[in-house]
Symmetry: C2
Subunit: 397 residues, 2 copies
């Protein structure tokens, strides 16, 4: 059984803060600063160019990818890291569309993170050939998968409500209809047990600055199912995806493995910090994590329901249908969240009317959850969010 | 007059090393490590999510872009930073092609860095519609620009030989033929005076880990001429390029300015380190830099010509036709460079037969150049590169 009272020591959290925004930016892991210093002063400063081989900078995307693979049910050698999630969505979608040249529809839902939809719009617009991004409501996705669909592009956990898609069921449905399934795990990786292999996902992508605590703008990851590795076409055909980058051939020949999804020179410093951040997962059982996460979110929902009748739960009431976050609706959501932050409880606001809280058992205790609910209660009961002076101050923050 | 005897103190260089590989990875600037620590421990660690506004993380791509703009003759607000150079080439080429929908040819040369060519191949292949990447020898470029050419995609300084394209002349020729000009400044920015405005470049891109000393895998930059800003189509339509990223609209509407070329969440740590690295340019006059760079490379060529008759100059003999690097050919180039590195002179090898040396006056003195030539002489005269024991050891490094 994972001891979550011990894992909090793996993070540097400022005193007096209850941090419920790890679903947006995870906190600083203890080893990250020292690792950055080592990479900067010893590897870069002293080894200089020699560190590409001497410190195996060149191997970082795969090494860090293997550690993420272990958290999402992927085999070693099936995940690469680098770039941003938007870029990885673009790569996955282009390669997926190339696998279904006779089909025209990219199916997604209105609960998907907008950047995924924007990237799809940009790609579909550039490729032309009658391609269409089709959006349906999240609960209409299963019914909308038919034999016109080339690719399903879905985020497992809704960034606003935490609503959880059934990855295995929707992937099976996509495959039955002859479509390719891409899963965005931005709010899943490190938040709940994920098994891309068991689910049969074709591609999976995600970011690492949320529950994986890799730091602001940390590199993204891309998983490619083994059955596609030899045929997936890299639209972003950068030199690091070449089978022999240092031969400097004039013609692109993709690497035979997952490295074909690498693009440019890897972001060494950020990858090293992410590598250090992943130490926080040593010995953590994801089933235990899920149990603890549900315990925290259920307790928070119960406390808020008992104390704050004006807040409407925007997340599924069934914990099995949620990721690791909970949102509430209120017309003054922005001001409420600002008032909470001013009182040391950091969650976030999502337009137009949501306050959102993430639950990361690695560093959060039930006592903190109860204390956060009490502060929310005080803000609501005292209408502290309605203080005009506060609103004025909030504008300049 | 810039005092280059003083600027060396702006870098941390290991004792006993003569570093002639800043054209591959610039050395560590003195402020970079402290800046990284501050971003990690204070901004990320203490401010957490609040640092996006509180520390203006969100503004980093533009702020750092403005500092690079000042080094390449671009106005403030015309350069953004992030991603990798390969990604920026892809964005620029896609947007440039969209400006010439009736033309089919992307013109480049065989001296261009392969990743630029690979990226063009990937994009051309994906877009179809009869597009073609046409390669000619570097000295044939001007003659090959005709009215079939949609885009010229050229790197100003050849990564192997240092051969310098005439940016203003080729851009004028491209425009006269109705083509759009993209310039890759990977080996130009921070290496010589560049004026994208005077040259009339439509797009310019570059990396920051060479002469700009941003660190391994540091973010890239993209310049967009003002006349294209309102119409350039972002094929990588990520949320950070949206006119209102935090409105979370379902539809992509590009930002009205250079920010439309942003893609995903910015790499905060790497951008902050790059920002610190750019302090090394305070008060540096680029014309003085060029004079000093030519002084160093001319001295090196003279010393090598006098001492090492077996080495064939692969770079233009006329310094006005070179960037800030010099290369020599030899069948045993790889072993020669390994022998030099073992003796404290770091340059690099480029397949199949080049040894390459970069000259960065910010931290290199003429004494070091003479000493480096003497070590090269010793390696050549003593045939130290032919030592079979050495070759065996080199293989495991």
């Amino acid at each position: 059984m994972t001891d979550f009272t011990a894992t909090a020591a793996r993070f540097c959290l400022p005193p007096g803060i209850i941090y419920l925004d790890g679903n947006s930016l995870g906190p600083l892991p203890v080893g990250a600063a020292a690792r950055a210093q080592d990479v900067i002063t010893r590897e870069w400063g002293e080894q200089l160019i020699r560190a590409w081989n001497g410190a195996d900078w060149i191997g970082l995307p795969r090494r860090v990818g293997d550690r993420i693979a272990a958290l999402i049910g992927a085999p070693a050698g099936s995940v690469t890291t680098g770039d941003t999630l938007s870029i990885k969505v673009f790569q996955a979608l282009a390669a997926a569309l190339a696998l279904r040249p006779d089909r025209r529809v990219v199916l997604s839902d209105t609960g998907n993170f907008p950047s995924d939809l924007y990237i799809a719009q940009g790609l579909v617009g550039a490729l032309g050939r009658g391609l269409e991004l089709r959006l349906v409501a999240p609960d209409q996705v299963a019914g909308a998968i038919d034999d016109t669909v080339a690719v399903t592009l879905l985020t497992q956990v809704d960034y606003r409500t935490g609503r959880l898609h059934d990855m295995a069921a929707l992937t099976a449905r996509a495959h039955a209809a002859g479509a390719v399934a891409i899963w965005d795990l931005a709010h899943s990786a490190g938040a709940l047990p994920v098994d891309v292999t068991a689910a049969g996902a074709d591609f999976a992508v995600g970011c690492t600055y949320k529950y994986l605590n890799g730091g602001p703008g940390a590199p993204a990851f891309l998983y490619l199912a083994e059955r596609h590795v030899a045929v997936a076409e890299p639209i972003l055909a950068g030199w690091m995806g070449h089978t022999a980058p240092f031969a400097f051939d004039l013609d692109y020949r993709p690497h035979g493995g997952i490295d074909r999804m690498r693009v440019g020179t890897p972001p060494v410093l950020a990858l090293a910090v992410l590598d250090a951040a992943l130490d926080a997962w040593d010995g953590v059982d994801m089933t235990d994590l899920r149990t603890a996460s549900i315990g925290l979110s259920e307790r928070f929902i119960a406390e808020v329901a008992a104390r704050c009748p004006d807040l409407i739960l925007a997340s599924p009431r069934d914990p099995a249908a949620r990721g690791s976050q909970v949102s509430f609706r209120h017309p003054q959501a922005y001001a409420i969240m600002q008032a909470m932050i001013a009182r040391g409880v950091i969650g976030d606001f999502r337009a137009p009317d949501l306050i959102r809280f993430g639950f990361a058992p690695l560093y959060l205790s039930e006592d903190q959850i109860v204390a956060a609910a009490a502060i929310l209660d005080a803000v609501m009961a005292g209408r502290l969010y309605d203080d005009p002076g506060y609103r004025q101050r909030a504008r300049v923050t």
